[in-house]
């Protein structure tokens, strides 16, 4: 998205004025207010009334005109007050997979003496929610945002706005949470070359394609790693055979970067991610080997998250 210089300047100014923070109580410094579209339309109506009043020299038409003007001005204060004093707090962002939605959890709270109505939290073009803070002291809301890339999702500005009570003025503020949400690679099921799914052996053990225990010799399929071709058999028969190996679940399985049959990094990560999901679902013990990082075989939630995080942050300039 390209911004023109003025917009850039405005964005920069906003960043300076409203830096990322996990909690902010909206007040004078942080609230902007302008007449809304219908507010401007009302001003046009006022102009019309003024002309009517002047031309008919009618005092009561003047009264209506000035009354609406006073109401318009008063309404600005009302709208401002509906936003001022609201405390917004970013709680957490749940990790998600690339291509799905990162969900930010926020808490809005108020001072006990003041009620707030019809506040809109808006992630432009992503998600919005309308809340009231009158019947309760605080409210938790979730906003979702599409996470397109793996790594850390840094939530953009959230616009908090209100036009309460009459819709004639628009008061708004921005809130940028100082949180990062992990975005795991998009899982990619690869059922072609390497059978990643677990097969069931005769002995009843769960087998997963792996590299440690020799299982059988089968006909070569495109995509098989070149190291596993049974050259002796080739010499004998002139046919390509592949040695296939399995990991018995009783022992640790390794998910290895090098064994993913695709040269593209992102795809590899996606495939590995799908495998991690798969294995975690079967509660298998597995380890992960990616360049620069090796996670020893284990199982359980913590391990699972650790693996996914490693995949998410692979090659990225974090920590």
């Amino acid at each position: 998205m390209r911004l023109n210089p003025w917009e850039q300047r405005w964005q920069h100014w906003l960043d300076q004025r409203l830096p990322a923070k996990n909690q902010r109580t909206l007040a004078q410094r942080s609230i902007f207010i302008i007449p809304s579209g219908s507010g401007l339309a009302l001003l046009v109506v006022l102009g019309l009334l003024m002309i009517l009043g002047i031309n008919f020299q009618n005092s009561l038409v003047y009264v209506v005109c000035f009354w609406l003007l006073a109401l318009f001005i008063l309404n600005i204060l009302y709208t401002y007050r509906n936003l001022a004093g609201v405390t917004i707090k970013a709680l957490r962002i749940e990790p998600c997979f690339a291509g799905s939605h990162a969900v930010l959890e926020l808490e809005l709270s108020r001072m006990p003496t003041r009620a707030h109505w019809n506040i809109v939290l808006d992630w432009s073009k992503q998600d919005h929610v309308l809340v009231e803070l009158a019947s309760c002291q605080s409210v938790r809301i979730q906003l979702s945002h599409l996470a397109t890339k793996r790594g850390y999702f840094e939530p953009p500005r959230i616009k908090i706005s209100t036009t309460y009570p009459t819709g004639l003025a628009l008061a708004w503020s921005y809130f940028t949470p100082d949180l990062k949400g992990l975005v795991y690679p998009e899982p990619l099921q690869q059922d072609s070359a390497l059978a990643h799914q677990g097969n069931t052996d005769n002995s009843g053990k769960i087998l997963t394609a792996g590299g440690s225990d020799f299982n059988e010799l089968r006909a070569y399929k495109t995509g098989d790693p070149i190291q596993r071709i049974h050259w002796a058999k080739y010499a004998q028969t002139g046919q390509l055979y592949t040695k296939s190996f399995v990991d018995y679940a009783s022992e640790a399985l390794w998910l290895d970067w090098n064994q993913v049959p695709t040269p593209r990094t992102e795809q590899r990560l996606s495939v590995l991610c799908a495998q991690v999901l798969e294995l975690n679902a079967t509660q298998a013990v597995f380890g992960l080997k990616i360049p620069g990082k090796t996670i020893e075989p284990a199982s359980g939630e913590v391990h699972y998250e650790q693996c996914l995080k490693a995949l998410a942050l692979y090659g990225l300039p974090y920590e």
Binding site: L42, F56, L60, V61, L71, K89, D122, A134, L170
Partner: protein, 696 residues
């Protein structure tokens, strides 16, 4: 800036709009076709049924048909074209139909803004105090509807929702009053930008420019107000209150009119600026003035009514050679003048040729008997004007002349003869007309003056209210030594008409019902005092609100601010606005420091204490979690913190806990935490983050 909200109007929003439209349209039924209201109600009900899923949204064809029918109805209703009435009726029709297609918030806003406009437009028809109060109601309901149609989270039931919206709308409308008043009093008043057609619904009221006594069989007299007047010093006696409107010079044998030719207002004004102009050399100021102020009800005519001769006057008026004061424009809003009349002044010791010609004209060959009578009396009086007049008045008094509001018709020719010799029954026009005829018959310049006589004194408000039934006609006779002198021949027949006022006089002639009503009013003094008080209120309203124009404004400002310049005025306005803004701000609590709840302040304190010791709590972390995290590094501190967490949780979530006690405990723990030592000396502990723990 666009917000992707769902902005369709809900069922309760539609109900709000229905109420607002109804309130706005109701008063127009007095002036415009009443069937606009059922159209509006039907449109809204249709829309409501669509919302409930009972009916389908009308398609374009149906809408076109409906609009065509509505316009057809307006055409048939016989409103003049082009007129503001018709424009307003079309606007109302659109307003009524609009609710059929109110789907989006924007449509609703349009309906409400149109409503505001219509509330104002209604004041073109009437500016009565009641209309003003009704306008306030309209504003409140419209504002309520504006609040009601906004997209909202509903937590209250519909009834409570409506009540809270109405309460807020009322509050806002009332709070806007002070600011409105300031703008109202200070905003400059400009002259009309362009000339306007006749006001909608405005009919000409008040006295007519013609007087045809013989044509009227039954004079209906309205009880409507003509104007109100206040006197600066003492009030002149009732019998001296002759309020001059216009003079009628030309008589065609049946009808009296101002000038030989019928002029429209613009041409008449040209006459007044030319041949018919008043010059200062015409009169000689004499005696003490009667200073007064008069506020005229808009009549759709330019005529104003002043004491004779009014020689000093402030206001948008012009004066004519016959000493009348008239408005510079047709009065469509209350006209206010400040004037001084000098009753002892001698007017026109020299009569111009034109004026003499005008005041001597008689139709050729009409009323021979009257001419004969005039010549006889003129001889009997020895050609003395004084004696001649006395003779005529004596004749009216002693012969069988009657004052009645239901005189017989006088035919088309020789109407003066018919009155003087045959019917002898009539009201002021008959007497004034024949008196002037008798004067002119012997060559004495004379003219008919029409206006009002007397009025009703309002004790509560100290002003004189002059009603339409006070309309009167009298005469002026010119002589070289005395100039113009007024006579009232009607008093010869009905002296009480002037001394007691037409109100009492009319009572004798009115029907039984009115008489009994009057009797009730007279026997219940509080009733008449109440009605006087209400009228006094009306007067203040007319004087200070409706009649607040450029001149009044200048006077008020001069009174308050002394001689002011634009700069001082601007400064005053600005400072008033700033002061008001500050006051409002304080009142609305804009500058109030956000108050923390007890829980918030305790947490804040805890966070600060622990931050000094190197522990930072994540915003989302509960105290319990935090305590465990700290315990792993600092056992003692963690223990205290766990205690704190326990008490804190009971403060927040245990409704049975003793709040004061718990708070005491928490404060004590905070003190201990503050003093608690960090065991690993000389090294600050890096802030912990939960995410890093798992990494090991």
């Amino acid at each position: 800036m666009g917000c992707p909200m769902n902005k369709t109007i809900t069922y309760s929003g539609m109900l709000w709009l229905l109420a607002a439209q109804f309130v706005v349209m109701l008063p127009f039924t007095l002036y415009l076709p009443w069937w606009l209201i059922p159209i509006m109600v039907a449109s809204v009900i249709w829309r409501l049924r669509v919302l409930k899923g009972y009916s389908a949204q009308p398609n374009a064809l149906v809408k076109t048909l409906l609009v065509a029918m509505g316009v057809g109805g307006l055409v048939l209703s016989g409103l003049p074209f082009p007129s503001l009435d018709l424009m307003l009726a079309v606007l109302l029709l659109g307003f009524a139909f609009k609710s059929l297609e109110v789907v989006q918030l924007r449509d609703g806003v349009i309906v409400i803004f149109l409503g505001y406009l219509l509330v104002a437009l209604h004041f073109l028809y009437t500016q009565e105090i009641l209309a003003g109060a009704y306008g306030l109601l309209g504003m409140t309901i419209l504002t309520g509807a504006l609040i009601g149609i906004q997209p909202a989270v509903t937590v209250l039931n519909p009834f409570e929702t409506v009540r809270s919206h109405l309460k807020l709308a009322t509050l806002m409308v009332l709070q806007a009053i002070p600011l409105m008043l300031i703008i109202f009093f200070l905003a400059p008043r400009l002259p009309p930008l362009w000339s306007l057609p006749m006001m909608p619904g405005q009919t000409k009221t008040g006295i007519s420019e013609r007087m045809t006594p013989g044509d009227i069989a039954d004079l209906t007299r309205s009880t409507e107000l003509a104007f109100r007047a206040t006197f600066k010093n003492t009030r002149p006696p009732q019998a001296q209150l002759y309020w001059r409107g216009l003079t009628l010079n030309y008589f065609d044998g049946k009808t009296w009119q101002q000038l030989p030719e019928d002029y429209d207002f613009i041409n008449f004004k040209n006459q007044v600026k030319g041949e018919y102009a008043l010059f200062n050399k015409n009169f000689e100021l004499r005696g003490d003035p009667i200073e007064y102020e008069a506020l005229y009800v808009p009549s759709g005519q330019p005529w104003l009514f002043t004491l004779t001769p009014t020689l000093n006057v402030e206001g948008d008026v012009i004066r004519a050679a016959d000493y009348r004061v008239m408005a510079n424009t047709i009065t469509q809003s209350p006209a206010l003048i400040k004037a001084s009349s000098y009753p002892q002044t001698i007017r026109d010791t020299k009569l111009t040729h034109t004026m003499r010609h005008l005041a001597s004209q008689l139709p050729q060959g009409s009323d021979p008997r009257t001419h004969e009578l005039a010549q006889r009396w003129w001889r009997e009086s020895g050609q003395n004007v004084e004696r001649y007049i006395k003779l005529i008045l004596h004749h009216f008094r002693t012969q069988e002349f009657y004052y009645t509001l239901s005189p017989p018709l006088l035919g088309d020719q020789n109407t003066i003869d018919a009155f003087l010799f045959d019917s002898r029954k009539g009201f002021c026009s008959h007497y004034a007309g024949s008196f002037v005829f008798l004067m002119r018959a012997v060559g004495i310049p004379a003219r008919v003056v029409v206006g009002y006589q007397g009025g009703k004194w309002n004790e509560q408000g100290n002003y004189l209210a002059v009603y339409q039934y006070d309309a009167h006609a009298w005469v002026e006779v010119w002589q070289p030594e005395t100039g113009w002198v007024e006579y009232d021949p009607t008093t010869a027949v009905a002296p009480s008409r002037v001394t007691e006022g037409s109100d009492a006089f009319l009572a004798q002639e009115e029907g039984l019902l009115r008489q009994s009503f009057r009797a009730v009013q007279n026997n219940l003094p509080w009733l008449s005092s109440l009605s006087q008080q209400l009228d006094a209120l009306q007067y203040q309203w007319q004087r200070w609100v409706v009649g607040y124009d450029h001149d009044t404004q200048a006077n008020v400002l001069r009174k308050w601010l002394g001689d002011f310049s634009i700069t001082t005025l601007t400064l005053v306005i600005l400072s008033v606005f700033v002061a008001l803004g500050v006051l409002w701000g304080i009142w609305l609590g804009l500058w109030r420091k956000p108050r923390l709840t007890l829980e918030q302040s305790l947490m804040h304190e805890l966070d600060q204490i622990l931050a000094k010791k190197g522990f930072k709590r994540e915003p989302a972390q509960t105290v319990g979690d935090f305590a465990q995290q700290v315990s792993s590094k600092q056992a003692d501190l963690g223990k205290l913190l766990q205690q704190f967490a326990q008490h804190f949780e009971s403060l927040c979530y245990n409704p049975m806990a003793n709040k004061a006690d718990t708070t005491q405990q928490l404060k004590r723990l905070l003190k201990q935490l503050k003093k608690a030592p960090i065991t690993q000396l000389g090294r600050k502990i890096a802030p912990l983050k939960p995410s890093r723990i798992s990494e090991g």
